[in-house]
């Protein structure tokens, strides 16, 4: 996500580009963040390649079933004789690269389910958190009470209920990620905003008679960006974690596109025949989540050092 920034802002000013590069270069100050970034970029790259090329068609039953890794099928085949390597690569797409809109038209928008879900949680959470923190009083109490209730909900139960309430689909998963993520984002934004709100520049804006919305979104929000970015990174990791779990439980992203979680689930049933089948998708999920966590962790450490 940060890597996308410089290209987006090239047009405005050269100093912006430099600024963006400065922001990114602190990633490389930290070894942990660099390792994390490399893992994440690896999966992004694999996903992008899979849009154009995979060793075999991911959904075609071309081979013998439940093969261990061999020279034709680098990672073996699954219970229907499909090539695991191809399915693994394609599995990146729904998580990171594309979202299938509901309806028969088969419209696909860029940006994976995990990314849109976290984006939704950020928008809703930031809005609620800012209002709760800045307006305070009754606003704060009622918003926080509702969010507290949502937090008390075991997330998995909320997922289960939401997903069973609607038909399986990418958008439903995005909705579920938004609903379960928003309270956390709101709490974070609120705590950041409560601190920022005490700064004198907010008093200065108030004594200019600025509108509440201006103060919240123009004066407070930009100064909370750093921690929110780090948090968002962790949340993307957690969303991938969750998508995998839902897939594993058989209520995640709908077929036919391969999904890592359901790949693990299917391979598990044949674990005695081919123990190798569960490993690639399991490692994929774990490594991507770990990569995002490492990246976020390193970034946070560098940001605090930078601020000192």
């Amino acid at each position: 996500m940060t890597v996308a920034q410089p290209t987006a802002t090239v047009s405005s000013k050269p100093s912006r580009l430099k600024k963006a590069w400065e922001g990114i270069s602190i990633v490389f100050e930290s070894r942990v963040a660099t390792v994390g970034l490399i893992i994440v970029l690896f999966w992004f790259a694999l996903g992008i390649i899979s849009l154009f090329w995979t060793p075999y068609p991911p959904n075609a039953n071309l081979f013998e079933q439940n093969l261990p890794p061999n020279t034709t099928n680098w990672l073996g085949t699954d219970h229907l004789g499909r090539d695991i390597t191809s399915r693994l690569m394609t599995g990146t797409q729904v998580v990171l690269l594309k979202t299938r809109l509901p309806g028969d038209l088969g419209i696909v928008i860029p940006g994976g389910v995990a990314l849109w879900g976290v984006f939704g949680a950020l928008v809703v959470g930031a809005f609620l958190g800012l209002n709760a923190a800045y307006r305070g009083g009754w606003w704060d109490q009622s918003i926080m009470q509702v969010l507290d209730a949502l937090v008390a909900f075991p997330a998995i139960v909320l997922y289960l209920v939401i997903i069973t309430a609607f038909e399986q689909g990418d958008v439903v998963v995005i909705f579920a990620i938004t609903i379960t993520g928003a309270p956390g984002v709101a709490r974070l934004v609120r705590s950041l905003a409560l601190d920022i709100k005490t700064r004198d520049y907010i008093r200065a804006a108030e004594t200019r008679g600025e509108k509440v919305s201006y103060i919240m979104f123009k004066e407070i929000f930009p100064n909370a960006r750093g921690p929110i970015l780090v948090d968002a990174m962790l949340r993307v990791g957690y969303a991938i974690f969750m998508i995998g779990t839902l897939g594993f439980l058989g209520i995640g992203l709908p077929p036919p596109d391969p999904d890592w979680g359901s790949m693990v689930n299917e391979a598990r049933k044949f674990i005695f025949l081919n123990p190798w089948g569960v490993i690639p998708p399991a490692v994929a999920i774990a490594s991507l989540v770990v990569g995002l966590n490492l990246f976020a962790d390193g970034l946070r450490e560098e940001l605090t050092r930078y601020q000192k």
Binding site: A204, E206, T207, R208, G209
Partner: protein, 713 residues
């Protein structure tokens, strides 16, 4: 107690010979990612038993680093790069952690700036104190407790035995500092390091703690290393002093010599920056030091002070001077020490000084622009009992401002002084509309301003603007300087959009900041520069009245002088009316035409500045003035100390709010019973000077002035 008595003698015998602490050519460096930073270098001084040695300098000069080097607490990446630190003859550099640990807290003790931070919030004070004795001396718990209580009594802690059972948050800041000092003294250390121990405290509390330190030094015969930025404090508690600048010690000697005849240009500059108590803007000037302290990476090759010095010559740029002993016993790090006569100093060309249009003559004739009558601000508070929770308990309020009545004349400055929690900030927040007033009247140019900002129209908002205290939070870190100054112009539409940039640059220039500051971000600015931008932002909507909330209190003295000059300049040029809040009485006196003194939400005395600072005064004003540390060891200051703590504003004392602490109520019949029962009358002295006190004017007039010149020996 036999044990403890023995301890005292043991420590005493150890060191009758040499100095307690002897620091020679010490350099301290920090390892960072790319190389290392030398924070402190060439520092040498020594402290003898019973002596109090002051280390002064502005922030970033390495004062505290020296202290941390002595106790070898420089963090994971800091180390003593050169020199020796001899404590009672043994070199501390190179000692093992365990050897040092045994010295720390036993022979060397330390007291730091913020007592609340220094005490463990989840341990009882008694436990925190006792362990110093049980760990270092192996005392039994009961003996240790006994000795702790004695020590607490010694530092005049009321109800010492009870305090032992309390947690830090349950006692006041002044009391916390007493606990920390008592803890430091428990083992009767040979060396006591104090790092800005009173900076976080209010002036009357500070005075009491300084008295205590002076007294303890006499009684315990301890060597004290006293670090502070405040020249007044040094003058009060130290007998010798070292001045630090950018990691070096530039001058050292006895307090009398340094203050009487400072020889290093930096020391001279520092003295010129601080307003003397009683000095005002009409009769005196502040001369800031140009430039700023160079960061450790960019220190000049020659004399570190040369870029800012008024006497720089080629030699200063090329060659770093050594500390030289002068005939009067002072050592100075300057090539030309002894040749420079501060009396001959004239302000350099580039130092733009404010042009004050003679303060006298138009007094009283200007119209009041802002009138406040009986203004009150109460905050409701919720009690903690179940009854209160259900809304059944009696409604209670913090009475933050009570019956404020005053007026400000056009183009003049009203100063408001008082200790923290006296309601001065609430008062101006109410005026500017950040808070809604509870009762009373307030009018600005004939418009009612008792409501908060939502009740005011744009023009009214535009006419009242504010300058804030903390330079680090006054600017939004996300926007450039230009955007932030331009915003009020766009918001109020005072400047057409296409001219905003030009106007901002004009303002920047008026603030002595160049055009190149337009695109800078706040983190690229120094504290003083941020404060200038803050002022520019307040002025951008060309307001009639600017409210200044402690605009200089977070700044170093040399920067403080520059900002004060800038504000004076603004006022002289555009006739802006100001309300100026500060806790520093000298600054308020210097800057203001009229002064109001507040205590616990109540204005106690108000009038022309010169009248406030001379008798007759309110007993509280008198106590405040006698507490101010004055950077002049030759003067004699009246000694009045307030007892107890400031009462809670939720249930302020009946009658006169000051009666619980008033040192003068005994002058009234019945030991001032009336003070407890009735609100005092306003006693008019004339020229707008009013005192809120039961004591008759005739008696008040008999009080001596606070400051008298000491007789020369």
């Amino acid at each position: 107690m036999a044990e403890a008595a023995m301890d005292w003698t043991v420590n005493k015998n150890l060191s009758d010979a040499g100095p307690v602490l002897k620091i020679e050519e010490v350099a301290v460096a920090y390892k960072v990612r790319h190389g290392e930073i030398v924070a402190v270098q060439n520092v040498s001084f020594e402290i003898k038993r019973g002596e109090s040695y002051g280390i002064v300098g502005e922030s970033g000069c390495g004062k505290s680093t020296v202290a941390w080097a002595i106790v070898n607490f420089l963090g994971a990446n800091g180390y003593v790069k050169a020199g020796s630190i001899k404590f009672l003859g043994q070199d501390l550099v190179g000692k093992t952690g365990e050897e040092l640990r045994k010295l720390r807290g036993d022979q060397i003790a330390m007291v730091y700036q913020d007592p609340m931070q220094a005490l463990n919030p989840s341990m009882k004070l008694g436990d925190q104190m006792k362990e110093v004795l049980t760990v270092h001396r192996g005392m039994s718990d009961a003996d240790a407790a006994k000795r702790c209580i004695e020590m607490l009594d010694r530092v005049y802690m009321p109800d010492a035995a009870n305090v032992m059972k309390r947690y830090p948050h349950q006692i006041s800041g002044g009391q916390q500092q007493r606990v920390v000092i008592a803890m430091a003294l428990l083992n009767n250390p040979a060396l006591l390091i104090m790092d800005e121990p009173t900076t976080a405290l209010d002036v009357t509390v500070e005075a009491a703690v300084l008295d205590l330190i002076a007294e303890l030094r006499r009684d315990f015969d301890t060597a004290i290393m006293y670090i502070t930025h405040n020249l007044g404090v040094v003058a009060r508690v130290c007998n010798r002093v070292g001045v630090m600048y950018a990691g070096e010690m530039v001058e050292r000697g006895t307090v009398e010599q340094i203050f009487k005849k400072p020889q290093h240009p930096y020391t001279q500059g520092l003295m010129r920056c601080v307003p003397k108590l009683g000095a005002d803007k009409a009769s005196s000037m502040l001369y800031p030091i140009i430039g700023r302290v160079p960061p450790p990476r960019n220190r000049p090759i020659g004399c570190i002070f040369n870029p800012r010095c008024d006497y720089t010559q080629d030699r200063c740029i090329e060659e770093r001077p050594q500390l030289r002993d002068m005939p009067n016993g002072v050592s100075v790090r300057c090539h030309f020490a002894g040749e420079i006569d501060p009396a001959q100093w004239t302000p350099p060309e580039e130092l733009k000084l404010p042009s004050i249009s003679g303060g006298d003559g138009d007094n009283g004739e200007a119209e009041p622009i802002l009138t406040v009558n009986g203004l009150k601000k109460y905050y409701p508070v919720q009690g903690s009992s179940l009854k209160d929770l259900l809304g059944r308990g009696p409604k209670r309020y913090v009475k933050a401002v009570e019956d404020a009545t005053f007026s400000v004349k056009k183009g003049k400055t009203l100063g408001i002084v008082g200790e923290s929690g006296c309601g001065k900030s609430t008062l101006i927040k109410t005026l500017i509309g950040l808070e809604e007033s509870t009762a009373g009247e307030a009018q600005f140019l004939g418009f009612d301003i008792t409501g908060d900002l939502s009740t005011r129209n744009k023009q009214l908002i535009q006419e009242l603007q504010m300058v804030f205290q903390n330079p680090d939070s006054t600017m939004n870190p996300s926007y450039s300087v230009g955007q932030q100054i331009g915003r009020p112009m766009i918001r109020f539409g005072t400047v057409p959009k296409n001219q905003v940039r030009d106007e901002v640059i004009k303002l920047l220039q008026a603030m002595r900041l160049g055009e190149n500051y337009y695109d800078r971000l706040p983190r690229q600015l120094s504290g003083g520069e941020k404060q200038r931008v803050g002022i520019a932002r307040a002025l951008a909507s060309s307001p009639n009245v600017v409210l200044c909330d402690e605009p200089v209190s977070a700044l170093d003295v040399s920067v403080q002088a520059a900002i004060l000059n800038l504000l004076l300049d603004v006022q002289a040029e555009s006739g802006t009316t100001m309300i100026f809040i500060a806790h520093d009485l000298s600054v308020v006196r210097f800057f203001s035409d009229d002064v109001a003194v507040m205590y616990l939400g109540q204005i106690m005395e108000i009038g022309p500045a010169d009248a406030i600072y001379a008798p007759p005064y309110h007993p509280y004003t008198e106590a405040l003035l006698s507490a101010v540390p004055i950077p002049d060891p030759t003067i004699q200051q009246k000694h009045i100390r307030l007892e107890g703590n400031v009462p809670s504003a939720i249930s302020p004392p009946s009658g006169c709010r000051f009666h619980t602490r008033c040192p003068r109520r005994h002058l009234l019949p019945n030991n001032g019973k009336i003070c407890e029962e009735e609100l005092p009358p306003w006693r008019e002295i004339g020229d707008g000077h009013r005192i809120f006190c039961h004591i008759p004017l005739e008696t008040l007039r008999t009080f001596d002035p606070i400051i008298t010149q000491k007789e020369e020996d």
